[in-house]
Every structure is written in structure tokens, then in C-alpha cells.
Amino acid sequence: MKVLVCISQVPDTVTKIVLKDNNTAVEENGVTYIINPYDEWYALVRALELKESGIVEAVHVIMVGRANTEATIRKALAIGGDEAIRIDADSNDCYQIASYIADYAKAEGYGLVLCGKESIDYANGAVGPMLAELLDTDFIGFATNIAVDGNTATVKREIDGGEETDSANLPLVISCQKGVAEARIPNMRGIMTARTKPLKTVTPSAVDAVTKVSRYEMPPAKAGVKLIAPDQMDELVNLLHSEAKVI
């Protein structure tokens, strides 16, 4: 079985966000881009673990992005992916992204498609379930543990106020979060071999976007912290009641 891991490129958490063009765009200069952590640390690493335990033959990584995202996708190969596919398109709308990936994946017959629970830029988390809908498979979201036995996956996932264990037949789309695997750091050998691994570029057929970010806004500056002396906890409680109105 082959596994497809969907990855996206996002600004690093520590990056300062600066707006430009009358707040309709984010300044890209100075932004450090990384593989979306949920995709890298959990989805990709679990796919590699499944390969190491002999359940999976090959791990493919796929990303929708322009040529300037190739360094990010190479990193996924350095961590251990066998082959990468870059769909040469902008990645602004979940439906577009899911459609492009579904078109590619359909012909390849992946047993398992893994993605992160959401991207840390817009936190939509919609590509996975959309992909499942487009591929006519089941989707299990927010997985904390994935086991595969033959044609069946057993998946622990977050539910409202707890955890549930589900099983489903392959092919299946799963979104991953903490618990599924432990992050790995690419080693020198991985980095060297990544250079020679196949990175395929695919030109998708056009799909219309169904959403667009029209503008951005910075959160209002914090008014500043109000300090309360440690022996004045009655005052804090009163402020939380009468000023903040939260208790």
C-alpha cells in the first residue's frame, strides 16, 4: 500500500505578521516558512512509522504550491518521504486544494491519505474532509492514534469531551494531531538523499476558488496588564466580575 501525506507551507509561529497593500495582503519578505507542524510532526512521521513496520510500501508527500515552495517539500523528503508531488498552483482556497489533490490521488490508488488536523495559518482543517468527499471515502478527523491491520484502520480520535476509537476500511482519509507520532528531525543522510529523490510537478486543470480573503486586521493592542497585589485577591475577583464580566 502507498500512503499519501498532504502538506502545506505556513509562516513559522514565531514570525511577526506584517500587513501590506492596504491590509489586503501579508508581507512575505522576512517570513520564515515551515511545513505545517501537524502535517510534518504527526501525519508524515506516522506514515514513515507505518513504512518502517512493513505495513506501507511507499510514502508520497503532496503539496499545492508554486515553485518557491520546493525547499519546504524537499524537507519532507529529508525526513523520509520517498517521493514528492508539487501541484503547481496557488493554495488559497480549501476546495481548490482538495480538488487538485483528489484529481491526482484518484489515479494513484492510495490506501491511506494523511493530513494534519489543520494548518496553523487559517486553521480551516477542511482539506482532509473535502478530499474524502471528493474521493468518496470515509474521513476520521483529529486522530491521536492510528493502527493499520490488513484492510482496516483503527483510529483513536478526539470527540467532544473525550476520545473515541473507530475502525474503518481503507482507503481512508485521516487528519492527525498530537499523539499520532513523535516529531523527527531530518539527519544529514536524509538531507543528502532528499536531493536525489523524485519531485514531480503537476499542472492541475482549473478549479474555481469558492472563498477569498478580502482583507486582514491586526488585533487591537492590549490595553496593558492591570497588576493586582498578591494579597488583594478579593479585588481581582471583583474586577473579573464587574469590569471583565467573566464571572
Binding site: 469531551g161 472563498t211 477569498k212 498578591p230 485577591m233 475577583v237
Partner: protein
Amino acid sequence: MSVIVLIEHTEGTIKKKSLEAVQYAAGIANKLGTSATAVATGTITEDELKSLGQYGANKVLHVADDRLNDLHARAVTRVLVAAAKQENSPVIVTLHDVNGRTIAPRVAVQLKAGLISGALSLPDTGNNFETKKSAFSGKAFAYVTAPTEVKVIMLAPNTFPLQKGEGNATVEPFNVSFEDKDFGIKVQSVDKVTGEVPLADAELVVSGGRGMKGPENWGLIENLAHELGAATACSRPVADSHWRPHHEHVGQTGGTIRPNLYIAAGISGAIQHLAGVSGSKTIVVINKDPEAPFFKAANYGVVGDVMEVLPRLTEAVKKFKAEHH
């Protein structure tokens, strides 16, 4: 025409966040000059469903199929799509939670609808439904538009305070025919964290970091949480050291929460931690280091030792409750 909203319930009791979703859907319906229709699945009484009228639903479509007491996303997708078609809906609302986020994207694909996630505002119906959401782990807001005929919107829980009104919704049985594949996922076991407030939806959260020194001191966090009726959370190193279970860990690699009140005790406020909590309406930070970065994100700060401050705060809450009863 009617705005559709999906209801979630726990063993027949409608979740508070679903009441928020109904109120939100009614707000959109009001802007569009139409009504709101709630959709409920599984075992739930007619009286409970009627009460949705108090939050603005005119009608409830109820699929009383007890297979739907578990989340079967494909089956619920089918229900929502059928309801949207019957009601000629311009908008379908779900919550931006684990259930909504599993179902809404599927519905959006079937209806060729623009999907807006994590909504923090009522859409600007005159402007392609421009809706505010959080972006870049709370470092900015993005406004998303959807030019499609139908829109699917996932509302972030705890965004709007509930306002209970008068009225009863009419309840209609709703029949949908399912296929086997709609129930392809088999639920093997369910492990609910009982007796506690679920963290993801909690309005009040008390959280501890490495400054708590060890699991033996967590009683201080729990006592305060108990007095407040709050959920408990922690920073990543606390979960990594197994002082607390992993589902309590919030931040970039853990859960994202947006409570009304977040009390952080002995947490430094690293950016990766803030990524999960910066949407909180009010932040109280207790830290003995006046230079801790968390104070910059806080509304109220106490520079002091958690071991002394937490018991005092707990006592103060107790006293406050006694006086306000």
C-alpha cells in the same frame, strides 16, 4: 428559503454551543429576511427540540434515527444536504468543533458552497458574506468572502453570549434514506472525560505550567477550577512530563481554546503557548517573574508565587460566591 443550522446534543440535551449556533443562524436569517431551521439527528425529545425557538429557530427537522447517536459524518452530511435542498437554503451553519469540522467541508463540496471556518462575526450579507476569523494563531484576523450561491459557515464556540427569548419551534420529522457507506465507520469504544467541563468548549479555564513544580501541587489548580466551575489545562512541558494528561495541553501543538476567562498559573507565555489561548477574552496571569512574557498578553496580572496566590484566589472566589447567592 431558510438558514439551516446543525444541532449537537449529549444524550438528548442540546449543547450550549449549539444554542449559540442557532442564535447565530437566526441572526443571519434576520439579515436575509428569512427564517432559521434547525436540524437534529438521533434520540432527543420533542420538548427539547421545541425549546430551540427560544434562540430563534422557527422550525426543527428531526431525523429520529438512533444510529445517528454516534457521529456518522457521511450520514449527517446527507441529512444536511437534503435539508438544505428542501428548504432552498442560502446558508448552512455548523459549529467549528470536532463534529462540525468533520461534516461541514463534506456538505460544502456537495453543495458547491464556499466554506467559512471559525467565524467570529455575523457575515456581511451585502458584501459576499465577508466574515471575520482568526488567522496566524491569533496574530491577525482575516476576513473571508464566499461569492458562491450557497455558503457553509462554521461558528467558533463562545463567540456570542446567549440571549434567551420566547417562543417554541415547530418540530417536523425528517426522513432521509441512507446508504451502507454512510455508516462505514464503526465506533469501537468511547472514553468520555466524566465529571469535568470539556476543555474545548469551556467558558472558564484554569491552567498550570512548569511553575507549578510538580503534579502534587495540581490540587491548587483543581480547587480553583472547582470553585469557578472551570475546566483545567496546562502547558506543553507539563503534559510531556506526564504531570497532566495530554488532552489538557493547549498551544500550537495542543488544543486551541477561546474561553471567556483563562487563568495561567506558573506559565511563562511562550509564543507557542499563546498560539492556543490568545483568543481568550480575559487573561489572568500569575507568575513570580514580573518579566514573564505572558504579562504582555494578559488583562490582569499577579506577580507572586502560585503556591500562595492560588489558595488566596480560591478563597476569594468562594467568598464572592457566598456573597452573590
